[in-house]
Symmetry: C2
Subunit: 422 residues, 2 copies
């Protein structure tokens, strides 16, 4: 199936969700799935050469010469684009999970030296080989759950060397395995011990010492800031992101997760690619986001894992016309899951997104959040053939059968990168 030279004709798509018809998708996604029953795809050189009902695709001259793969009645959709992950970390934080269940808050644990700073200590101490081995394992799990592209942040290093190491490892991982990795510089994740009480000085350090190196080596596409209570202020975020933009990195933001600080408005002001979290936005933030081109990337895994009852107001954002994406926020503290199907289940049951809305948010709108919607996120002629194949009878069953992974095959640029027997 790895025959790149020969065209590939994929048949037997009981439901083929193309998401055709432009981007970004605002407003209600229902009816925008571009659903084709008994669909087929023709793939050439990793891109979609034809897509449509089986009878239309099958009769193309090129289809007759192609290698045929009959899926025998599966659900086929664009590979998930997971626009927010912290891929590289050295250890789980399961003991903090237990402490939180016993009643400690996430912020209390952070004040005791746990939280992000614990991950900083373990990452700095970890040998490169260990970090690579862990990341490789998780990348394979992402692929096994139907994800073909992930954003991946630095932010557990917080020294020049450790931040650059993380971003270089992302580059190495990109070369050696097929899941597409979009690197983001998150030096402003938390104030490191070396700068305790001197957040402004740390921002200056990032601007003067780290950012130029990141830019010179072209190690990141985006610059992110954890702009929230206990992390960085709106003013600090604005200063860093302005400097980042000057070096060619596009801004994105962690915004309004723990408290409303104005970070979402900053995202609008800066025309950030994405404002992520948004659990605490107010009505004015919501209107501003809805009028903007900023993608609202919602991360319901955090609320679930932290036992919070509050989720981001997905329904109101969608109804106001905002562009909503969904992502895992894979990280060891607040959302240790790589499963986009699980995130879809959370989006449907806890945020009342419809299965169709959740799928658009997890594919085309995720691609938009990473500024790749012209290449991935939908199944249209000319786009990369990034596909997730589910052994189900209806696309709505992806979130419905929650907690179970029914993805049986994943293709990246036309090549099979994960599969399991059915």
């Amino acid at each position: 199936m790895r025959g790149v030279a020969r065209d590939l004709l994929i048949l037997g798509c009981r439901q083929l969700l193309t998401l055709r018809g432009g981007w970004p998708r605002r407003g209600r996604a229902l009816g925008e799935l571009g659903l084709i029953r008994d669909g087929a795809l023709l793939i050439r050189h990793g891109r979609i050469a034809a897509v449509g009902p089986r009878r239309n695709v099958e009769r193309l001259p090129a289809a007759r010469r192609a290698h045929r793969l009959d899926l025998g009645g599966k659900i086929v959709l664009p590979g998930f684009v997971d626009a927010h992950t912290h891929l590289l970390f050295a250890a789980s934080r399961a003991e903090e999970y237990e402490q939180r269940i016993a009643g400690a808050s996430y912020e209390e644990i952070a004040r005791r030296g746990g939280g992000i700073l614990r991950s900083v200590r373990t990452l700095r101490a970890a040998p490169e080989a260990v970090l690579l081995e862990r990341a490789r394992g998780w990348l394979a799990e992402f692929a096994a759950h139907g994800t073909t592209t992930i954003e991946a942040k630095s932010g557990y290093g917080l020294t020049t060397a450790a931040e650059l190491r993380t971003l270089r490892l992302y580059r190495q991982l990109q070369h050696e395995q097929p899941v597409e990795i979009v690197p983001t510089f998150l030096g402003a994740h938390v104030v490191p011990p070396e700068f305790r009480g001197r957040a402004d000085a740390y921002i200056t350090f990032l601007i003067q010492r780290v950012l130029p190196r990141v830019a010179a080596e072209q190690l990141a596409e985006f610059c992110d800031v954890f702009c929230d209570r206990g992390a960085f202020t709106v003013a600090q975020a604005r200063r860093l992101l302005a400097a980042a933009r000057a070096t060619g990195l596009r801004p994105r933001l962690h915004a309004e997760q723990l408290a409303r600080t104005g970070a979402a408005r900053l995202a609008v002001e800066l025309e950030a690619a994405s404002a992520d979290h948004l659990e605490k936005i107010n009505a004015a933030d919501l209107r501003a986001l809805a009028r903007s081109s900023v993608c609202c990337t919602l991360l319901p895994g955090c609320s679930f894992h932290l036992s919070l009852r509050e989720y981001a107001p997905a329904r109101r954002l969608i109804e106001a016309g905002a562009i909503v994406a969904l992502a895992t926020d894979f990280n060891p503290g607040t959302s240790p899951t790589v499963s986009m199907p699980m995130v879809l289940a959370l989006a449907c049951t806890q945020m009342r997104m419809t299965p169709a809305e959740a799928i658009v948010a997890a594919t085309l709108n995720g691609a938009y959040a990473l500024r790749r919607a012209e290449r991935i996120g939908s199944l249209e002629v000319g786009k990369f053939a990034d596909l997730a194949v589910f052994d189900l009878e209806d696309y709505r069953e992806i979130p419905y059968y929650f907690g179970v992974n029914r993805c049986v095959a994943t293709f990246k640029r036309g090549e099979l990168i994960a599969s399991r027997r059915t």
Copy 2:
């Protein structure tokens, strides 16, 4: 690895959770996991012949002659005992899921002819081969998620023929595949169309026509009643369960899910094996359950899937001394998951059970709920070698890495019944 004749020595258990020391487990389960680091198991004729630290087990004469399986550092625990499932159904109800997300309640959907009655219509119409094929697929998924024993209810038939067919299919499935199936007669699941408005007459029909057939063919161990608002009353449940007990079927109950009706107190009165759900119990119910031998089987998948904020009061039950089990409630309407790891994640994050409490509830206490705790549910000499093996560093990571299945091997009576490459 299927060499039954030869003893099997399992090594390389980074953490071996034995749950040794009697049953049932009341109260706080912390410290009751019987955790052994670098543990080993010796298995003979499907039962545990020795268990303990590797150095102790390895030096036994029998261990030297045994086939050796080194897991290389995995988490090993008793296979999950899932004490509440509705295994056999003909179709998903994903369209109702979408309706509920749009705002319809579970009970509204039932009144419109959806809900359980929809599953009754599809099951009655489905050919046996279709039902078997679906059930086989799900049984393999149960095993893949670490479950070695499930309870399985009838209740989508509601005629003599259809109820007997379901229970006979459970018997057939038990003969042809390795997951242990504990059959429960749930003729009193809902009033069928043929008896609309005549629930008492339906109970009489079950007692006079169906129950004697179930008993004569020994098709069920337990009799269950959905005793709740919109289903059957306490008086109806009492009448059926008394008759069932006279034929040799032990009682268990769906209790206090949709409304407080007194069903939990009935479970105590009848010394039922288990009272399941319990979201709506009051303080007096809680005390009565805690003083009784009734297992409180909690089903957090329902609250999650139905988008309800209310979960059963697990913390208060545990602190009052009740025996708490966890189960999936696998069914197409309210909890379409086969994943006990997912149920553990829900128990920890949504009901604030500790990972240790959740594991006890999902293994030993599940076995107790099925009156099998003398044979399964812990890893002690003489018990069946039912094991789940997780590719993790710590048992707390089973619920922590939510939505992802890290079970890599499952053994039933010493035989490998599911595995995946790691």
